[in-house]
């Protein structure tokens, strides 16, 4: 079982699109898969047509009064379940802070689910806070979408430093390019130079594609409404490359 968080401190970089589409592919390959929508905006819940509502809200959930198991919803796709978001997740930071060992809390809540699933994707909101620390603690993999811009180099380096400084040795950072537009000279150049400085960036990039943008219309994972396109192939290749670099143990 692996817990994969799609994470970037920045918003709108494709975290949700990545979590939803990769989870869909994993499930199609017969892996029991769960997406946990941790973002109060509930974007991944929306894509699966599940109401962003959790009984008792974040308080009851974090307190463990409601087992996560009981909050799970089956999606329309085999092997793929969703733990929906709730508007109260906007206070998740505060709720966590009120607990003893706040950063260990998510991990503890997830433990009972580890037997039921092969992959759990955490779709994270964009911010750096107590929730992020909790997510770092709970995850095996931090899958980080990077838009090829000059700023993103700094963000990636900050993230690496943070992981190093906090000795998060269990956590494997996997960065990859998202929303890449090969027609843009700047994108190409930044991708080339970044790849040189950071060889751990995956070689598969997710292109900027109108197919993917349409997810909000269709309200389903890309693979459920597009049989085969440049975008579906890219996600498939990304998933294969991730499987290849995931550290065992």
């Amino acid at each position: 079982m692996k817990i994969i968080a799609t994470y970037n401190i920045k918003g709108g970089v494709g975290k949700t699109a990545t979590a939803v589409n990769l989870a869909f592919i994993a499930a199609q390959n017969n892996f029991k898969t769960l997406v946990w929508d941790l973002d109060p905006q509930g974007a991944s819940s929306f894509y699966f047509r599940v109401k962003p509502k959790v009984k008792g809200g974040s308080k009851a959930m974090v307190a463990g009064r409601r087992e996560l198991e009981g909050l799970i919803k089956a999606t329309d796709f085999e092997n793929l379940d969703l733990l929906p978001a709730d508007f109260s997740f906007r206070n998740l930071d505060l709720v966590l802070d009120a607990r003893k060992k706040p950063t260990k809390r998510l991990k503890k809540l997830l433990t009972p689910l580890t037997h039921d699933y092969d992959y759990i994707f955490l779709d994270c909101p964009p911010n750096i806070s107590l929730l992020s620390e909790s997510i770092f603690e709970a995850s095996d993999i931090l899958l980080s979408p990077i838009i090829p811009t000059t700023l993103s180099l700094r963000t990636l380096e900050q993230l690496k430093k943070y992981i190093k400084d906090n000795k998060l040795n269990h956590l494997q950072l996997i960065p990859f390019f998202s929303m890449a537009d090969k027609r843009k000279k700047m994108h190409r150049e930044i991708m080339e130079s970044l790849a040189e400085e950071h060889p751990d960036i995956l070689s598969t990039a997710i292109p900027y594609a109108s197919d993917i943008e349409r997810m909000g219309w269709e309200r389903m994972p890309l693979g459920a409404y597009v049989r085969k396109s440049r975008a579906t192939e890219a996600y498939m290749a990304l998933w294969q490359e991730i499987l290849g670099v995931i550290r065992l143990t």
Partner: protein, 515 residues
């Protein structure tokens, strides 16, 4: 994580179309798929899956074929596998849950089809306002049996399940039932579950005349032969021949141990016939046993030699094919058929009512059973006591045969005696037989493997094959010696006071021959 589906039997006059139309009035239904599908139910000849509460069904349509195992009581799906073709034996199945569930239950037995149920399978989705699926329904519109409905609840959508079951109850007057497909399918074939078992069991009234009771026993045995004959000829799996042969051996034991109950002329004639039948079925069975043991043979070898044993497998397989062919020829001969038919006719004839001199006719079956079992039991004890460390192998082989006779007699007359007592002594006897059986089997295998290696000399087989067979012979020899060394222990266990007491209590001193 697999939710338990709910099953409903639909009334005869309710077509799928009508049902869906009516249900659409209350619910947002999407027909996601519709497939002409043939469902074939499988079990082994001796109902091993049924006895283990498993239903095995193969659903085959143009676009997919799947094998699923379903818990017969709860209807829960135990395992499911996409398989383009149905397989007969578990070791042909892809590795996975399905195979690990089936293997220990089926062992060497083949899966054979019980019935075919063509139907139109409709996959329906119930949707909510967001067009999200909240319940999956499968509606099977059958050609031969009542239509069936299955609800597959989705995690987190219990309310939808409740709502739909309520509608089914209130609008359609339908209540969930047990998954009834097997019952319905078998009824179609005029069959019932467990209509064959390889265990011998016959209810006899203790006051029945001995000769009548014996005929009843023989009748049941001939039925077992008839049941297994087709499977033997078709070479479906090894157990058909095995059960066939056991019935032959039981009959022979009857003819020798209960001989006074029938006219000598008949006894002699059929004793010869069944001896012949035992003989012509022997070679195939022996080879079957080697082939069934082959996996074990390989396992006892060092890994580096395992593949070198393959030429032996090829030889055994060839020999088995040849033996099977000869067996088929023999069982197709008209003499065989005539003799068996005559025996069957003879068994249905009225018993001789004439008051003859022969003992058997005057005894009740209980009296006969007491006498014979007690006598053979004493034989067993005597033969076993006479065996010492230095006794030849033949002594153990003879004892093995006597034990078999005792076992068959106990099984013939089992229902005449208290069940608990019979259980204890049958179990003890079985255990004692195991050590005798092992001893003989290992010895015979050792001798035959040596013989096979001589035959293989002519075939330019690699030296490593002979090396492997040498290791195998050594293993068989050590197992044989182990069985021999265990003999006295096992006999002591069989001879223990409790068993002796039961034997004495049940079978001795009760001869009250009517004068």
């Amino acid at each position: 994580m697999i939710a338990i589906p709910l099953h409903f039997d639909l009334p005869k006059n309710l077509s799928a179309k009508k049902f869906i139309n009516k249900l659409s009035k209350n619910l947002d239904i999407q027909l996601s798929n519709q497939q002409y599908t043939i469902k074939i139910l499988f079990d082994s000849f001796d109902w091993r899956l049924y006895n283990a509460d498993i239903i095995c069904e193969f659903n085959h349509s143009n676009s997919a074929s799947q094998l699923s195992l379903i818990d017969r009581n709860s209807g829960k799906l135990l395992a499911l596998e996409n398989m383009p073709d149905m397989m007969r034996f578990t070791d042909q199945f892809p590795k996975g849950r399905l195979r690990t569930t089936l293997a220990p239950v089926l062992e060497m037995r083949a899966l054979i089809p019980l019935c075919q149920l063509p139907h139109n399978a409709h996959q329906l989705n119930i949707l909510n306002k967001d067009q999200k699926i909240i319940l999956r329904i499968q509606l099977d519109e059958h050609e031969l049996i009542a239509n069936q409905l299955h609800l597959y609840p989705l995690k987190g959508y219990d309310k939808a399940l409740k709502k739909v079951t309520n509608i089914l109850q209130n609008t359609f007057d339908l209540n969930p039932t047990k998954y009834s497909i097997l019952k319905a399918g078998l009824k179609l074939e005029g069959r019932k579950p467990k209509d064959y078992s390889s265990k011998f069991r016959i209810n006899i009234n203790p006051d029945m005349r001995a000769d009548e009771a014996c005929k009843k026993i023989y009748q049941q045995l001939i039925q077992v032969m008839q049941f297994n004959e087709a499977g033997t000829l078709a070479d479906i799996d090894t157990e058909f021949l095995h059960d066939f042969r056991v019935a032959v051996r039981r009959t022979r034991t009857g003819l020798s141990q209960l001989k006074n109950t029938l006219p000598t002329k008949e006894i002699n004639r059929y004793a010869d016939f069944f001896a012949w039948l035992g003989q012509i079925t022997g070679p195939t069975r022996d080879l079957d046993v080697y082939l069934l043991s082959f996996k074990k043979y390989k396992e006892v070898l060092p890994i580096s030699l395992r593949e070198d044993l393959t030429p032996l497998y090829t030889l055994l397989k060839d020999k088995q094919k040849h033996a099977q062919k000869k067996l088929t020829e023999n069982l197709s001969r008209s003499e065989y058929r005539t003799q068996l038919n005559d025996w069957e006719t003879f068994l249905t004839q009225q018993p001789i009512t004439k008051k003859g001199k022969k003992n058997g006719i005057h005894l009740t079956v209980k009296q006969l059973a007491d006498q014979r079992i007690w006598k053979v039991y004493k034989h067993v004890l005597k033969e076993a006591k006479d065996i010492s460390e230095s006794s030849p192998a033949e002594a153990l082989h003879d004892l093995r045969k006597t034990c078999k006779k005792l076992r068959y007699l106990l099984e013939f007359f089992q229902t005449l005696y208290p069940e608990d007592d019979m259980k204890i002594i049958l179990k003890a006897l079985k255990k004692f037989q195991t050590v005798l059986g092992d001893f003989q089997d290992y010895e015979v295998q050792e001798i035959n493997i040596k013989q096979f290696s001589e035959e293989m000399m002519a075939n330019k087989v690699s030296p490593n094959t002979f090396l492997a067979m040498g290791v195998l012979v050594q293993y068989l020899d050590s197992m044989k010696c182990q069985a021999r060394a265990e003999f006295s222990n096992q006999f002591a266990l069989f001879e223990q006071a409790e068993n002796k007491h039961i034997f004495k209590n049940l079978f001795s001193n009760k001869f009250s021959v009517k004068k």
